[in-house]
Symmetry: C2
Subunit: 230 residues, 2 copies
């Protein structure tokens, strides 16, 4: 976290550098409605196939519900501490319920011509018919939105923690999430109680290949990513 | 795309607003090595469970290889047009090959004490033993990195297009990708030939729930996200 002025949001590289998976949140600092809305708005701008936007954000803020969520997440303290927990859901069948609305908006905004609207609609339906692994499909776009959400939060001075340690069946049961949704992750939002050191990253020479799998990245002068602040 | 000055990268909200899934790339404009490296560096700053960083980026730039990739991606023109194609891979077993290196770096940077290093190592191993669906597990973190990559590109004036239309078996075969990796998506990078209108998004009242699944978001005054530029 470099600064916390929501009027001058951080750039993408700066937000990526200063973001940490926050361990403990300040229980005395709530997150304002206005910031929460801004963060969620930006998250919805993530891309998705056919603009189907399968992400759903279940926002949990009451003490009782955060306690319930904590019990479904191996009692991790941050779930109880963070003023806002977002249960990030991936919906399996957005083309069945939301495609008309999505294509109508695209027409309205001039993103498709009236002639192309019908074609877009039918191509989306037929492509989606061939998607067999719906949890995997929805997880792809939903995690794009989750990353956008956390970077937006960081850029606006709000700390986050992505969590994959939870019991999906328990979360679904506790919050009424139906079977046609996957719980992709939890995200805690709020303000960190302490600065956390940068844990480092593998170098580009470890995670990048050139032209063929296993062929090392040969661009010279590869620097390690470093944190902006100590 | 609002501007293209890599010295003043866009903020996260601005980059999210101006990003479009680019349809056609300018074949006469290469992407500089320096920009490509910056974009990939920022992508590696995405979070992952136990900092395992399962993403791998296979960078494809030669004409011959982009042609090969195009043939594995339903002949979509942008694969041939974009100066850089990134095959975004999710590795299934980073804890088997990279955990020592990752924990050593965390120790070096003071992110874990020497005492906690051993515990972190063994907790990561034992947690990962219980992950049955490796393609789903790796897709989660890898798509966080993919989103970070595209937002970083946009913030630095580079257009992108995420693609899920490809034949995974063909891509793997053509580029030697082993079975313990999932092809999560392709990302085209370069410069757009045309401005593309904003296709709209579902409102927060459609994609957010409050406290319980299906319970509508009641925060008043919900604005639709709008593009920054026409």
């Amino acid at each position: 976290m470099i600064h916390s002025d929501p009027h001058k949001p951080l750039s993408v590289p700066d937000a990526a550098r200063s973001r940490r998976a926050t361990r403990h949140f300040d229980t005395s600092r709530p997150l304002s409605d206005s910031l929460l809305k801004q963060i969620l708005h930006v998250a919805t701008l993530a891309p998705s196939g056919y603009n189907l936007q399968p992400w759903r954000f279940l926002v949990v803020r009451t003490d009782a519900n955060r306690k319930k969520l904590k019990a479904s997440a191996y009692n991790q303290p941050k779930v109880g501490e963070a003023p806002v927990m977002v249960i990030v859901l991936g919906y399996h069948y957005p083309e069945r319920s939301h495609l008309d609305m999505i294509v109508a908006t695209m027409r309205e905004l001039g993103a498709v011509t009236p002639e192309l609207a019908a074609e877009t609609h039918s191509r989306a339906r037929s492509t989606m018919e061939h998607v067999n692994n719906r949890p995997l499909w929805t997880t792809r776009s939903t995690m794009l939105a989750a990353a956008t959400l956390m970077l937006a939060a960081e850029s606006l001075g709000v700390a986050s923690a992505p969590m994959e340690g939870f019991d999906e069946a328990k979360v679904k049961d506790a919050f009424g999430v139906p079977d046609d949704h996957t719980v992709c992750c939890l995200i805690a939002l709020g303000y960190a109680t302490e600065a956390k050191p940068f844990p480092g990253r593998l170098g580009l020479d470890e995670v990048c290949f050139e032209e063929h799998f296993g062929q090392p990245w040969t661009l010279g002068d590869v620097e390690e990513p470093r944190p902006l602040s100590p």
